[in-house]
Amino acid sequence: MITTFRIRRFNPETSPSMPYFQEYKLDTDRADTVLDALIHIRETLDESLTLRCSCRGAICGSCAMRINGHAALACKTKVQAMASERGIVQVEPMNNMPVIKDLVTDMAGFWEKVRQVQPWLQPAGQEPEAEYLASAESMNHLTGVMGCIMCGACVSDCAALEVDERFVGPAALAKAYRFVADPRDGAGRSRLLALNEPGGMWDCTRCMECIEVCPKGVGAMDRIMSLRGQGIQAEVPSTCGARHAEVFADLIYRKGRLDEPMLAVRTFGLRNLSRLLSLLPMVLRAFVRGKVPKTGPFHRAIPGLEKFRRLFQRMEERP
């Protein structure tokens, strides 16, 4: 099958050093991966094409790049699965990190953020005579997150990082979870306190891009949500995010459904009156436009609320 590879090129040494797309046509086989094709292009068509790869077996994570707009390991992605109806595959360097040349990105910032979460065990208390022991169950739970190969795919497609480079990002947060949830670690609270700061666990926008693109099923966003839950449980200083989740749960308990005005009032409340007041112009405009349901701004409770509440209570008693 003749496939057209539309590759984003960038060479900082040329002048002017602007990125551009270059197309290469290649006869590809059913079994070919995108990495096979790129190496073939470099070896037979254009030796100047720069890319990074090593293991070719989805273990080292070196060949992460964007294929048709989403991050993936080139060595794990089959050409024919990605080729459009017109036989085109678009290849670009990872997003949310500087490009060094062509498909190679600078991952220094990525590693800096991983270091920021102190990715090493910090046991507390007296050192045991033999090993630090952990139950098989607790370690099995961590197997998925320990499978992270640090390829950067989740960081590349992170929507929160796109608008704020200070966000620590999904890879580092998943790594943080790996230690917070490790029973041998004794620094859980201080880790959660650090992650509770701006740029930490509450800045994830829950878009699930990291879940979708991760080649190893680490499920970074799920780990971030677990970190938030643990933060709430550990009663780290209340943030807007934590209050939002607490109030949300309480409103569902009270009415069986969400009550948006109360959610805003109770999340911001008197603690952040100015933020609450800043929403007033939007609320007034909505009111003027008739953007108010027939039943009025406050939701009524669902029928059968008592039974529903008993279920809710039972869950809280028996998690």
């Binding site: 569902i252 939007m282 669902i302």
Partner: protein, 295 residues
């Protein structure tokens, strides 16, 4: 085609024009809806931050109620659809977990056997009515309109829970339906990105940056309007657009439409009937462009 209708909290709260437009269009599509009045909120992914299992129990309760009535669920909110799909995926792929959840539901006299289908209105249009079913209902092809789709996260990810393997066309459902309505579909990279709504309370600045980024990008690609199947995306992209424009010092003014409104207009209904006068970003300029077609 009868469905247990799960409107979600926002279509009956902050986005009443969505509920209004669905109520207007569904009988003309040959759908029968039985509203699930006793169903609870899905948790919208927020409750799940605090306690995922609690969220799954509440959703399993909703699935069990639909199962009792023998009807598939129809949602009209990407977030509801996504959260329910994820919960259903966990429940139906993990029998011991389903048994544990059923033990709790049993106290309310309910059991979930794992048979309830949960489908977004957009998917029902695609899979039940199809191209022919939609095209034959179009009275005013909206050929003058250039519209960009905006899915929201929960109707795109995670693809496994959303059943994209079995129904790959779901990934481009909006584009297909919009093209069947006669309008020009504007493709742009932001169509499957986050609208920023989940960040609104936590980090307003970042949330507004996302609003500005996607709306401006859609405009740069030539869109007259953005069309979304998610009322939460609508709340942010429409309701917060003027704040986003102020923050980013940009002129945006891009109307955000709910898909049922577009459908209703193409089927010959009047803008007011579809709640198109209730948006914060005025739809008037676009309606003027359509001229006598909607007079």
């Amino acid at each position: 085609m009868k469905f247990a209708f799960f409107p979600g909290c926002v279509s009956k709260g902050g986005c009443p024009e969505l509920y209004q437009s669905v109520m207007e269009v569904y009988p003309r599509l040959g759908l029968e809806l039985e509203e699930m009045t006793t169903a609870s909120c899905t948790g919208a992914g927020v409750l799940q931050e605090k306690d995922r299992k609690l969220g799954d129990v509440l959703n399993a309760r909703t699935f069990a109620l639909a199962e009792q009535s023998g009807l598939p669920i129809m949602t009209i909110c990407s977030t509801c659809q996504g959260v329910m799909s994820q919960a259903n995926h966990r429940l139906t792929t993990d029998p011991p977990y389903l048994a544990a959840v059923n033990e709790i539901l049993g106290e309310e006299g309910l059991t979930y056997r794992g048979t309830t289908q949960i489908r977004h209105f957009v998917w029902i249009l695609l899979e039940e009515l199809g191209e022919q079913g939609i095209r034959q209902r179009v009275r005013r092809p909206l050929t003058e309109l250039r519209a960009a789709p905006f899915y929201g996260c929960y109707l795109q990810r995670p693809s496994e829970a959303l059943g994209f393997q079995d129904q790959p066309e779901r990934a481009k459902s909006l584009e297909l339906i919009m093209s069947w309505l006669g309008l020009e579909v504007v493709d742009f990279p932001g169509k499957t990105r986050c609208c920023g709504f989940p960040l609104l309370t936590i980090n307003e600045k970042n949330s507004l940056r996302m609003v500005a980024s996607h709306t401006l990008d859609a405009k740069r690609h030539g869109a007259d309007i953005l069309v979304t199947p998610c009322p939460l995306c609508h709340l942010n992209l429409d309701g917060m657009q003027s704040s986003a424009a102020r923050q980013e010092q940009a002129d945006i003014d891009l109307p955000i439409w709910h898909l049922p409104q577009l459908l209703g207009l193409a089927m010959g209904m009047e803008p007011k009937q579809l709640g198109l006068t209730r948006h914060l970003v005025s739809t008037q300029r676009v309606l003027d462009k359509l001229g006598s077609a909607v007079a």
